[in-house]
Symmetry: C2
Subunit: 138 residues, 2 copies
DNA sequence: GATGATAATGAGAAATCTTCTCATTATCAT
DNA sequence: ATGATAATGAGAAGATTTCTCATTATCATC
């Protein structure tokens, strides 16, 4: 249940928080703060955009969601399943695919070690065109 | 000479363009539009921030510079040497290191192929702490 | 279940980064 | 040198995100 996750994060169980977390779980994909805001409005919820931004940032700090900064426009958020992964983004239709490549992950560690960096996080996003007919070719 | 690069891009040789390109070449590293603007002002140039943004975007389109979207804050620009590379960024001091790993590059191709994507571009940024004493640890 | 200290919310203002508009000025082919 | 056209600079405006603060909700305690 979402309520336990919220409580564990040291946050009070409020309607906006439950609605936002439930929506992200139900949706499963990548949503911007404004996406979340609009969907909840359409569902008849009373919520403020500032609250959505605030809560998503709190959820991120609590490890409940992950923020992705794809190029251009807004950040998007997704449930933190615990399994790190990277992304492919279609420049035409916006479709997002996920992948995890242990070879890449290991190489990153080696590179950081060689250059004296302690890795805290990383972001690998491949931009291109997906295989849908209307997206193919430049 | 910068002038030829600008001309080849189909752009007129103007003082702002020459100054911006020269500064990026001289500096060698990663500069935000505002960095460029402030440095040129300090050097006594008369230039507008809008021009800096406009010109950097034109240079990017022309393949003269590359834009990097590191998380938080402004985009930064660097001369496009033609050699693609990725980045490590220190979260404490902002230091940026560059690297190129052919293993990672090849794996990305394989992943895109498997998922039906045609790669147009990619961004790999490793965030962490560099080996300077004041940056080490958390 | 009622009470109250405290945290959370929502609306709008504001901050931040970037692009746009448009009158003025510079470039460059002729 | 001239003129068509492109570029510039200042400020307005757009886009995204955060902040402020008065009002409201939560929840530990009674
Ligand atoms: Mn994802
Ligand atoms: Mn670089
Ligand atoms: Zn697509
Ligand atoms: Zn550092």
């Amino acid at each position: 249940m979402e309520n336990q996750d919220i409580k564990k994060a040291g946050l009070k169980i409020t309607l906006p928080r439950v609605k936002i977390l439930t929506l992200l779980e139900k949706h499963g994909g990548h949503l911007s703060a404004e996406d979340v805001y609009k969907i909840l409005l359409e569902e008849g919820e009373e919520i403020g955009l500032a609250t959505v931004y605030r809560v998503l940032t709190q959820f991120e700090a609590a490890g409940l969601v992950v923020r992705q900064n794809f190029e251009g426009g807004q950040s998007v958020f997704e449930i933190d399943s615990g399994d790190h992964h990277d992304h492919l983004v279609c420049l035409k239709c916006g479709k997002v695919e996920e992948f995890l490549d242990t070879t890449i992950e290991k190489r990153q560690e080696a590179i950081a070690r060689k250059l004296g960096f302690t890795i805290k996080d990383h972001a690998l996003v491949i931009y291109g065109y997906c295989d849908k007919p209307e997206c193919n070719q430049d």
